[in-house]
């Protein structure tokens, strides 16, 4: 990737007493180094991409510490890396986006948790849940429960999060359980500060490598009959050890309050929202001093039953605030109280919505209900009035807008090489009829939004080709599977291509070869253009993806016989090759590679180069597309094939015409799609391409002047 993390890398090197300023996920990264981590791995994905990106770029510094960093090919690979801590007392950390990443890693995680670890292992999962999330909505909690892993959900404050990382390692070593730390989206992107400590060099590392492997021990294998013993150990030894550590080190925080009849138990990650909600109710100040006793669970698995029952003692009512479904924590607390024959009333999902994010408003609504029952003397009228006022404001606007305001989902970047392919696909379907399209995870899933509204299913990252295996046989037309190069290497090569070849499937696969895993933040992969080629390129404007043919060679090596590569911006050619793949006599796997470098990365690459050329007075050609406003028909067919943010509308300057005309605004990178679409779809003849030549050659200048003279004679006003 072309983004530089110079500042972030500097803050990773802060020493004891210095103040760290930055985002939550970077604080966690620093905390790993302060905890003496020996190896780090993971797979990129919001909201935790930064952890790995910064680490990968900080390789030189990490080398001095002896920390090994690995950009893994998927989450399963990352989880398997933690196996190092089964035999050796070294600390490891891996990261990914959850729930999806944890799903992919599940096999390795189960096999890691069974024998257990002796070196602390920490999995930093970005809990992609609620507002801003981009994946299926499920709880990571389930994995902690089923595989017996620690689950840390820290109160979102940087120093506390950093402290909890250090505790997580100690806890993992005390209990032999792998630890997971779930960080919600906003916590990852929260900017704050903490006082740094020195980074610790791992005792065993590449600088101090082990001479001999550990002795053979069957008990360390996730293999029968050891697995039966592991299952029992989890319950008889590991859980009690973890619970002891949690109690001894006060990992869960108990805040006293004067309303001793009631209490709230909450996940650590929701603490800040709770304090603000209680403040709105008038029962807490903004510093966190609450009238209601609180038990903040910074460790949500395992719970410590005696801590819960002790907190519940002498309380008439308890309110469990837990996010998402199923309500695992509430169920466990209910069991604990029931076993103790507690008379405390337990509230939770009866007062909160069973599904979805628990934001401040949801929490306030729940608190009002709780206080009405448990603390009737408390005046909740002002809060109820405020909640009602908000609802009224919303309703008034909803009525006024007639319907919903149009959504603004993310879309392809300006000049994205994937947009033209979907334009071609739209045109191809006009000829061959509508297709069943198996979509995938990646930037190309933005084609599910308007104007393309394309794709029937998304079964996971790299799963598109595999997901058509059941559809194809029952469909008269061929099915198209779409995959990015990120998805191809993550999973698609094996689950899709290999399986289709082995079974001799009549399948069509379209691979976007843009050179990066762009949707996760343009990380490099094995088919990314080489750094040396990038710096040696004379014309840096060219897409450089063609210089790396790992995907093509892999496919050929695997036995793909029908393989065509088309440049993504050649819309007519792409349409024709799509039609060919969908109608050819060849009945095996047909692969089309749409080649075109990720525009984000290309721009980052060429912008400094162009600036440098201009500074030195060198010739630079800038391309911009435009629309002749008096020729544009105002039927917006071009928009339905593009959706580019720079191709938009303006009022019709012609007083006779009423419909707005198309216009290309600043920001156009001259990708060429407008012109390609104009020809391929036979749109109106209003598009033009302008090449602005800065610092032209003298001959160019002369020709231009001569033309001007001639034009003055024959050109009408």
């Amino acid at each position: 990737m072309e983004v530089s993390f110079k500042e972030e890398i500097a803050s990773l090197q802060l020493g004891a007493g210095e103040v760290f300023y930055g985002e939550g996920i970077l604080a966690i990264t620093k905390a790993l180094l302060q905890s003496g981590v020996a190896y780090v791995g993971g797979y990129q994905g919001a909201p935790v991409s930064h952890l790995l990106d910064v680490m990968v770029q900080a390789k030189d510094y990490l080398q001095t510490l002896g920390v090994q960093v690995q950009a893994c090919s998927n989450e399963a690979a990352a989880a398997a890396m933690l196996g190092a801590s089964i035999h050796y007392p070294i600390r490891g950390a891996v990261t990914w986006k959850s729930i999806v990443g944890t799903n992919v890693a599940a096999d390795a995680l189960a096999n890691l948790s069974s024998p257990g670890v002796i070196g602390g292992t920490l999995i930093v999962v970005g809990e992609d849940y609620g507002e801003g999330a981009s994946v299926v909505q499920e709880r990571t909690h389930a994995f902690a429960l089923k595989s017996n892993m620690l689950l840390i959900d820290p109160r979102p404050e940087l120093s506390h999060m950093v402290e909890m990382v250090e505790h997580a390692y100690a806890l993992s070593e005390a209990s032999n359980m792998p630890a997971m730390m779930e960080l919600r989206i906003r916590a990852c992107h929260m900017r704050g500060s903490f006082i740094a400590k020195d980074n610790k060099k791992p005792k065993i590392s590449q600088h101090a490598a082990l001479r001999d492997p550990a002795d053979f021990s069957y008990a360390k294998l996730a293999h029968p009959p050891a697995t039966f013993v592991h299952e029992k150990l989890k319950i008889s030894e590991r859980l009690p050890a973890a619970q002891r550590y949690i109690l001894d080190h006060h990992l869960n925080e108990h805040y006293e309050g004067k309303q001793t009849d009631v209490g709230i138990i909450i996940q650590g990650g929701l603490y800040n929202t709770l304090i603000r909600a209680l403040h709105q109710c008038g029962v807490a100040d903004v510093f966190g001093q609450s009238d209601i006793p609180l038990l903040v669970l910074n460790v949500t698995f395992p719970l410590v039953p005696e801590q819960i029952t002790q907190f519940a003692e002498n309380k008439k009512s308890l309110f469990i605030i837990e996010e998402g479904a199923p309500a695992y924590i509430e169920q466990e607390i209910a069991t604990a109280l029931h076993r103790k024959q507690s008379t405390t009333h337990l509230h939770g999902k009866d007062l909160l919505p069973a599904a979805g994010e628990v934001n401040a408003e949801v929490m306030m609504q729940g608190l009002v209900k709780f206080f009405k029952q448990a603390l009737p003397e408390l005046d909740t009228q002002p809060l109820q009035a405020a909640l009602a006022a908000t609802a009224t404001r919303r309703n008034v606007i909803a009525e006024k807008c007639d319907a919903q305001l149009p959504a603004r989902p993310p879309g392809f970047c300006i000049g994205c090489p994937e947009r033209p392919v979907f334009a071609a696909l739209k045109m191809a379907q006009q000829d061959v009829g509508p297709l069943h399209i198996a979509a995938d995870i990646g930037c190309h899933s933005f084609a599910t939004f308007e104007p393309f509204s394309s794709g029937h299913s998304i079964l996971g990252y790299g799963m598109s080709l595999a997901s058509r295996a059941g559809v194809s046989p029952v469909m008269q037309r061929r099915v198209l599977s779409i995959m990015g190069d990120g998805g191809f290497w993550h999973n698609g090569l094996l689950t899709g291509v290999q399986s289709a070849l082995f079974n001799g499937d009549d399948a069509v696969l379209l691979i976007f070869k843009n050179g990066y895993t762009s949707a996760t933040g343009t990380q490099a992969i094995i088919s990314t253009p080489d750094e040396k080629i990038k710096s040696a390129a004379v014309d840096k404007l060219m897409s450089l993806t063609a210089t790396n043919t790992t995907i093509e060679k892999t496919l050929e090596g695997l036995g793909v016989q029908w393989l065509k590569t088309v440049h993504a911006y050649r819309v007519s050619a792409m349409r024709d090759v799509l039609k060919e793949a969908l109608t050819t006599e060849f009945s095996g796997l047909k692969v089309i590679i749409a080649e075109g470098e990720c525009q984000l990365e290309r721009q980052r690459r060429i912008r400094p180069w162009l600036a440098e050329l201009l500074k030195h007075g060198k010739r630079v050609v800038r391309v911009k597309y435009g629309v002749d406003e008096d020729v544009c028909t105002g039927d917006h067919a071009c928009m339905r094939l593009s959706g580019c943010p720079t191709l938009t509308l303006k009022d019709n300057p012609d007083p006779l015409k009423v419909d707005p005309v198309a216009t290309v605004i600043d920001g156009c990178v001259g990708c060429g799609l407008c012109g390609e679409n104009a020809h391929a779809a036979t749109l109106c003849p209003s598009f033009y391409r302008a090449e602005v030549i800065q610092h032209p050659r003298s001959l160019e200048r002369l020709v231009a002047q001569l033309r001007r003279v001639f034009f003055n004679f024959i050109q009408p006003a």
Partner: protein, 519 residues
């Protein structure tokens, strides 16, 4: 202290520098000695989706709090946000519709600029939301608001909108930070500091000098110079029609010649005469004539490759392009035009019998699955040959009237005019509705053909079917007009037909491609 920290919600689009703005604000707070926290939902925001950032700052300095820090909220609470700043008008309205700002507490600073959403852009005629309505929504949910064009200021000073937003925040005094501290932080940032500071200053000045909190969103009203109305118009038509007819007259003289423009006026005479017969209470001030005046002129000046060549070879056009691409005087600019004339374009200029033969030949070819014959050109119009070619092509207009297309168009527009005239006898509003269907006629090639098909079908279906009352017919026409513009596949149109109790149009024959599939 039990008062909440000061809260600011930033609404922006991905890639606009919301992250930079947030970091600037956090740095300003730190340098000024206040504790602050920010969070965001960036997601995949670099790709132009809507996104928000949230910042909280303590009311007092860290020193006066003795190091005690409030528990900052990670998300805004509806109704208790102190300020909202937004770089786009719809996003401001969205924020309002989510209930975040409240009339007793919130200051809203919003850009008046719009970045149109895809559904707004893909609509067949005009799907844009009204900025006036959006501004009204905003005005009602806050204690005070400033609306101005942040993007224009950013463009003017060659900076990102984030710098302009920072200036507006600084000037609004929602945070207790001195102006110099904001400027200091911008200066310390690596790139483009001077441009950012200029944008900052411009926004500062606008907020500080805002007398009326609202910058009225100007509706672009096209004023028509009523300097000299042609006597043929001023003497024979009611005054309300003069400006439009004058425009139309000039357009048609430019398009073809004076005789053609006179033909237009003759046709308009028929409409005006018909509408004059409508009862006085139903005349609607020549509403139908006004509609016909506009759409008949546009139809008569139908777009074809000759007209395009003419428009693209004018000097004015070149100046417009140079301005649009921001070329400086020392730059050399090359212009390539995308044209793709096909056989129907050629046939349009041939005599009727030849044209029909040619079109039938083409029809047979495409029926066999072949691509329609067309010549994709990237014409270098900045060159001498390119310009000459366009001039030669535009000269073909002198034989336009003898061609097949001309005759076809005239015949179809007469059908529409007849329908309007006939409706005038029945009901003024009905005539008006049919006249408005002229809006469907626009564009080139298939777009143009689809528009004509829809128009003629609408006229026919409405006249052939019996509706209970004339108001139902008017309603049906309006619905069909809307559906015809809504999508280009005709699905919406057919659905509307069915909803009206009519049958959908018969399926058009289309070549089928068989896909072999061995298993």
């Amino acid at each position: 202290m039990s008062q909440q920290p000061i809260s600011l919600l930033i609404c922006a689009l991905g890639g606009e520098g919301g992250g930079v703005l947030t970091k600037w604000l956090i740095d300003v707070a730190r340098l000024s000695g206040y504790a602050a926290q920010s969070t965001s939902i960036p997601g995949v925001a670099q790709r132009t989706g809507a996104t928000t950032y949230f910042i909280e700052v303590t009311l007092q300095t860290l020193a006066s709090l003795n190091g005690r820090q409030p528990i900052f909220s990670l998300s805004p609470i509806p109704g208790s946000v102190d300020a909202v700043i937004s770089s786009e008008l719809l996003e401001t309205a969205r924020c309002a519709s989510n209930g975040f700002p409240s009339p007793d507490r919130t200051l809203i600073i919003s850009s008046s600029s719009r970045s149109l959403t895809v559904p707004e852009r893909t609509h067949g005629s005009d799907g844009r939301l009204s900025s006036t309505e959006l501004t009204k929504i905003i005005a009602e949910v806050c204690r005070c608001h400033h609306v101005f064009d942040m993007q224009a200021i950013a463009r003017k000073h060659g900076t990102a909108v984030s710098a302009v937003m920072l200036g507006a925040i600084a000037a609004s005094d929602i945070f207790p930070f001195p102006k110099e501290m904001y400027q200091q932080v911008v200066r310390d940032s690596q790139r483009g500091a001077s441009a950012s500071l200029a944008g900052f200053e411009a926004a500062w000045t606008i907020i500080k000098n805002a007398n009326s909190p609202i910058e009225t969103v100007q509706q672009l009203m096209h004023e028509i110079a009523s300097t000299s109305i042609h006597p043929a118009i001023s003497q024979h038509f009611p005054a309300v029609l003069h400006p439009l007819l004058q425009l139309a007259y000039e357009r048609l003289v430019d398009y073809q010649n004076t005789a053609y423009a006179q033909l237009y006026l003759q046709r308009m005479q028929l409409i005006v005469k018909a509408e004059s017969k409508v009862g006085a209470e139903q005349q609607h001030h020549y509403a139908a004539s006004l509609e016909v005046a506009r759409y008949l002129a546009l139809w008569m000046a139908y777009d074809d490759v000759v007209r395009v060549a003419d428009l693209k070879s004018r000097a004015l056009r070149k100046h417009r392009v140079l301005k649009e691409v921001r070329a400086s005087a020392s730059d050399v600019v090359k212009i390539y035009d995308y044209l793709k004339p096909g056989l129907p374009e050629l046939a349009g200029y041939l005599p009727r019998s030849w044209a029909i033969k040619l079109l039938n030949w083409e029809k047979n070819r495409t029926a066999r699955g072949k691509e329609p014959f067309a010549l994709p050109l990237q014409l270098a119009t900045h060159t001498v040959t390119g310009l000459l070619l366009l001039r030669v092509l535009s000269a073909v207009k002198y034989v336009r009237r003898f061609g097949y297309r001309y005759q076809e168009e005239q015949a179809l527009m007469m059908r529409w005019l007849d329908a309007v005239i006939k409706a005038c006898e029945e009901n003024g509003e009905l005539a008006c509705a049919i006249a408005r269907c002229g809006r469907l006629i626009k564009g080139y090639g298939t777009t143009n053909q689809r528009g004509k098909d829809n128009l003629i079908y609408t006229i026919d279906v409405i006249s052939q079917h019996s509706f209970g009352h004339v108001s139902e017919r008017i309603q049906a026409i309006n619905q069909l007009l809307q559906a015809a513009s809504a999508d280009d596949t005709g699905k919406a149109y057919d659905k509307t037909l069915q909803a009206l109790g009519l049958s959908a149009r018969p399926v058009k024959a289309q070549p089928i491609r068989w896909m072999p599939k061995s298993r």
